[in-house]
């Protein structure tokens, strides 16, 4: 029987971590804050992957490891599996979660949202989306940490199209 952590505690911790890094430690350097948050995620993923792969045979290829992330790893973290996995068979994988738990209780600022639709370039700049993306560096880091510990160096980015759905793009480095 594994020990469990209250979900609201994790939500609050994530929120607090992001706000500490963005507003206190690296107030004017969002890209530095992002790097730090990603690094924390990396360490977490690195350690979790060691634990969750304990009782299973070694993976023979990349796809098997990605499938493990989608199914068992995601179930351990979020009590659900990844909803959709796409790949171009050339080292890029898109993992889509239709209801990503850590975004489930977040909402975009409606005033910021109203101003958006006319210009897609504006959207990228929009403050709300930028703030939201800060929260995704942590899960990105977790995925990257888990995969690199399994011997798959990769880059992970996240993409929010419509809340609370979220997709993670994994690009495996050749």
């Amino acid at each position: 029987m594994g020990r469990e952590v209250s979900e609201s505690c994790i939500d609050s911790l994530l929120t607090e971590m992001v706000s500490s890094y963005c507003n206190h430690f690296y107030a004017n350097k969002p890209e530095l804050a992002a790097r730090r948050i990603e690094a924390i995620g990396y360490q977490v993923g690195h350690q979790l992957s060691e634990r969750y792969t304990m009782e299973r045979p070694r993976f023979s290829d990349h796809l098997e490891a990605i499938k493990f992330i989608c199914k068992d790893f995601w179930s351990e973290l979020f009590k659900k599996q990844i909803d959709n996995l796409k790949t171009n068979h050339r080292g890029t994988f898109v993992l889509q979660d239709n209801r990503f738990r850590w975004l489930a209780r977040m909402s975009l600022d409606p005033t910021a949202d109203d101003a958006v639709p006319q210009d897609p370039a504006d959207f990228a700049e929009s403050k709300a989306a930028q703030a939201m993306s800060m929260y995704l560096y942590f899960p990105c880091g977790i995925i990257r940490g888990a995969l690199s510990n399994l011997g798959i160096p990769c880059a992970v980015s996240a993409d929010i199209s419509n809340l609370p759905a979220c997709s993670f793009v994994v690009r495996i480095k050749a």
């Binding site: 360490q43 350690q47 992957s49 060691e50 634990r51 792969t53 510990n149 399994l150 011997g151």
Partner: protein, 142 residues
């Protein structure tokens, strides 16, 4: 009796090595562990087995020497565990059981946020736990 256990990282860097003998033969045991790494590589690159045992973490008996038997275990994260024992008739179940508990101890040790991945494991708790596992090796069966 287990005379030596070792944890070796994915670049064949030693993470933890401990011998459990009275005699001053640590160097000899380290040498045996070192030799076994090649056997592990060989096993992994030319898997002979198929079916459910393919890619199993437990690698079984790596090689017997005159006085010792060497067993290996390779985790998903390419970390190797090596066990050197003087027992002549070792039961597979015992070794598997040992490695399972050893792996659990290792996972707990590297989950320590103060542990730097890829560096030697210096945790005293880990050392104690390992020596307990070593002491209880084979006891359950008798």
């Amino acid at each position: 009796m287990i005379v030596c256990v070792a944890v070796v990282g994915h670049q064949n860097n030693p993470l933890y090595i401990q011998s459990f003998t009275e005699a001053d033969d640590a160097l000899k045991l380290h040498h045996i562990v070192h030799c076994s790494l090649d056997v592990v590589d060989e096993r992994v690159n030319n898997p002979k087995k198929s079916g459910p045992t393919l890619n199993e973490t437990f690698l079984g008996l790596l090689y017997p020497t005159e006085n010792y038997k060497v067993y290996g275990y390779l985790t998903n994260t390419k970390v190797k565990f090596i066990l050197v024992t003087t027992d002549l008739d070792v039961r597979d179940v015992d070794v598997r059981n040992f490695f399972r508990r050893f792996h659990a101890a290792y996972v707990d040790a590297v989950s320590n946020p103060f542990h730097v991945p890829g560096k030697k494991i210096t945790s005293r708790t880990f050392a104690e736990r390992v020596s307990n596992i070593v002491k209880s090796f084979g006891l359950s069966s008798t």
